[in-house]
């Protein structure tokens, strides 16, 4: 069982649609990060959430950290082809609480 479960694994939608992807765990975290990876590139950090219930907006992207700090969601409004990529959530987790651990990712394709 993975520490972070991301769903759905794959999502294919038309341009202009809205979507939400999820990152869930049974563990509590002090913070959680979201990354986007485009083909042929390394992942790029989008946002870090640190407070339970926190909502952060980045243009058409809305990130929420669950009240219990066990889960997070990413909502994209009016998706565009440029949003296509692999969306990864990550937390700092090991005995020392400082090793970056990733979920399996959601692969999003937005068709024009």
């Amino acid at each position: 069982t993975q520490l972070l479960e991301q769903s759905p694994q794959f999502l294919s939608i038309q341009e202009g649609e809205n979507l939400t992807v999820y990152c869930n765990s049974s563990s509590v975290f002090s913070s959680l990060q979201w990354y986007r990876q485009e083909p042929g590139e390394g992942p790029v950090l989008l946002v870090t959430v640190v407070t339970g219930g926190e909502v952060k907006k980045l243009k058409r992207l809305t990130f929420q950290f669950g009240d219990a700090r066990k889960d997070s969601s990413l909502h994209i409004t009016a998706a565009q082809p440029g949003d296509t990529g692999l969306y990864l959530c990550a937390v700092l987790y090991n005995n020392a609480g400082n090793m970056l651990t990733f979920g399996g990712g959601t692969r999003l394709m937005v068709k024009p």
Binding site: L45, V50, L86, N98, L100
Partner: protein, 112 residues
């Protein structure tokens, strides 16, 4: 440099040969990570360096894989006696604090 630099960007090697992959992290970043990504897959953790602490090698898939980080800066990932299943993109990331990691472009390794 301004970002994480990895070299080479592409490497084709014959089965059984040794390869060395290099990562130049962002100056001052204390944490350095190596991940492996097969085509269409998520990130597979390999090894983690944090300051002067002993590295976390728990993700290395076999004893053919090793890594070192000299002077708390540049890191080299070495794969001995390469096999075809080692073919993947190898990603390096560095970070300073909880707010996020920065990735290089990766090294695409092909074992023929």
């Amino acid at each position: 440099g301004a970002g994480v630099s990895q070299s080479p960007s592409n490497k084709v090697t014959e089965k059984g040969k040794d390869v060395e992959l290099r990562c130049d992290p962002i100056s001052g970043h204390t944490a350095l990570y190596w991940y492996r990504q097969s085509l269409g897959q998520g990130l597979e953790f390999l090894i983690y360096f944090q300051g002067n602490s002993a590295p976390d090698k728990s993700g290395l898939p076999s004893d053919r894989f090793s890594a070192e980080r000299t002077g708390g800066s540049v890191s080299t990932l070495t794969i001995q006696r390469t096999q075809q299943e080692d073919s993947a993109v190898y990603l390096c990331a560095s970070s300073l604090h909880i707010l996020g990691a920065f990735f290089g472009q990766g090294t695409r390794l092909t074992v023929v």
